[in-house]
């Protein structure tokens, strides 16, 4: 299965948020979307997810326009993590995860429990009593539970899943994503941590001011000139300097 945006533009009123963006995502590959604030990354995720229709161009899922699927059919093919959820009611974590699992299909109790323990969040706690990072973990578990066993028949679209997480849980989620990728699931992940992206992504799309700056395999795209052009700020390639550089090792 593949997911693609073909020549997609998006305008809100007089503002052009995306400008002729064309990207294609394949099953079994993880793509990191990187770029400064306001580059249009979240808008691209929403268009790929079919929440909004592009002003021009088309988004295709499995070679059909994404809006040609019913909401429930789409919910089985796309697990989408947004940046903010408004949940203000005292559901337990397992009840929240169950909302995703029951959308995905059979065995929702077992899938919920597996997803909770995989990301490392206590299913018995009440969502409204959790910290920001713990809420994020619960939401990640909900989205993963939605597409848990679907392998190459589903895509994950995640808007900044790692941002609120501590190092340990970042690595845990990264490990999970890598397992799901091994099952054939395509992944598009908005990130801010370039080094983490380098660790987990097969491909990288660099975006700036609503347009794609560079796209392709991670090694080819993550170069100093590309990053400086994208983020418009001077950078240095730390590995070649003598400045100490700390990072977590990726577990397998």
């Amino acid at each position: 299965m593949n997911l693609a945006a073909v020549d997609v533009s998006y305008e809100r009123g007089p503002v052009r948020i995306l400008e002729r963006v064309s990207v294609e995502f394949q099953a079994g590959r993880t793509t990191a979307l990187l770029g400064p604030n306001g580059a249009g990354k979240s808008t691209l995720i929403r268009l790929l997810a079919g929440f909004m229709a592009p002003t021009e161009g088309v988004v295709t899922l499995d070679d059909r326009p994404v809006d040609s699927y019913s909401l429930s059919a789409r919910a089985k093919m796309l697990g989408v993590l947004t940046q903010k959820s408004t949940l203000e009611f005292p559901f337990t974590v397992s009840e929240v995860i169950e909302m995703g699992a029951s959308t995905g299909g059979a065995n929702s109790h077992a899938v919920s429990a597996a997803a909770a323990s995989a990301v490392g969040v206590d299913p018995n706690r009440v969502y409204t009593t959790l910290s920001g990072g713990e809420r994020q973990l619960a939401q990640i578990a909900r989205v993963l539970a939605q597409v848990w066993n679907r392998g190459s028949d589903a895509f994950l679209l995640m808007d900044e899943p790692m941002t609120a997480l501590d190092l340990k849980h970042q690595q845990r989620v990264a490990g999970l994503l890598s397992n799901l990728k091994a099952s054939g699931m395509g992944q598009v992940i908005v990130m801010h941590d370039i080094n983490l992206a380098a660790d987990i992504a097969d491909d990288v799309v660099l975006m700036s001011e609503g347009a794609v700056v560079a796209a392709g395999e991670t090694r080819a795209v993550l170069t100093l000139p590309n990053l400086e052009r994208t983020f418009r700020t001077p950078m240095s390639d730390v590995a070649r300097s003598d400045v100490p550089y700390f990072r977590a090792r990726l577990q397998d």
């Binding site: 929403r46 997810a49 929440f51 019913s70 909401l71 429930s72 789409r74 919910a75 796309l78 697990g79 989408v80 947004t82 903010k84 959820s85 408004t86 949940l87 203000e88 009611f89 005292p90 559901f91 337990t92 397992s94 009840e95 929240v96 169950e98 909302m99 995703g100 029951s102 959308t103 109790h109 919920s112 299913p123 018995n124 706690r125 009440v126 409204t128 009593t129 909900r142 939605q146």
Partner: protein, 342 residues
Amino acid sequence: MKPALQDGRSASRSQVWKQLWLTSLLFVTAGFSLMVGGSSIGPAEVMALAWGEASDSARTIVLDIRLPRILLAMLVGAGVAASGAVIQGLFRNPLADPALIGVSAGAALFASLFMLLGGTSAFAMLGLAGSAFTGGLLATWIVLIVGQRGGGISTMLLAGIALNAIALSGVGLLSYLSSDVQLRSISFWALGSLNGASWSGVIVALVIPVAIGFMLLSARALNIMTLGEEEARYLGVSQDKLRVRVILLSAVAVGVGVALTGVIAFLGLIVPHLVRMMVGARHEVLIPGSALLGAFLLVLADLFSRSVFAPAELPVGILTALIGGPFFIYLIVSQQKERLTL
């Protein structure tokens, strides 16, 4: 808010027990309520009635006055509280209330209009119920249209608040224009009272449990909607469809209730809060739990309102507002740290 700390399965078992417990509490209170009233017919006569050995006057008072009143309190209390639960879920806001989207005020305005224009016709009860329902529906329809134009949930809440003010000033204007007799019935009724309960009212109110049953069909969608409109779409739930369904059903449940008893304040706001503390937030248990607790609380409030100053009686809406208002403020203050946003 005190959480229910159980895993999925044991939680559902204790939830069932709590609902059963609440049900028995409701029936005990209702039975007790049957034995209390302005006249001196007490437990002995009510028991005698059960064996078919009571006087005609006792039979009339218990069967034609007290029983329909208690049944009406149950139905209306259940309708208002269950509507509160689904409206809060739809608006993803624990401070939302049927009154806030204009149902109650719209129903009140149209019912007052009916009282002023044709209140004494042969179909008075049906006409009153029908016009209140129409008013409630019209108000919610306007709120829905505004929401679809302006988009957001907060827009709808603000529209509801404005509509509320307009409708209530309309009721004020009508009472200014009315005769003394009409004025008394309008104001007595705007305060909320079960005084006018009759079997025909109970029969009309039977539409309320039907509406609650349909609300239950949307329980899973409402759970998912609390995650957010965008998140719900990604889980296959469309806000547009759910919004129409939920608002129509609460317009039925609340509009008919308002028509029969006037405005019962705060029940729709507070009962779902209490039920979430007891059994958690899943609408599968929240909706029936709210219906039960709402029924129980209105029977209890009515019992007080007609026995404290007996033989005179207090409009029950005054009592629910007097108790509900401070309790609501307490809830807001005690939940500050959970950053409730309106």
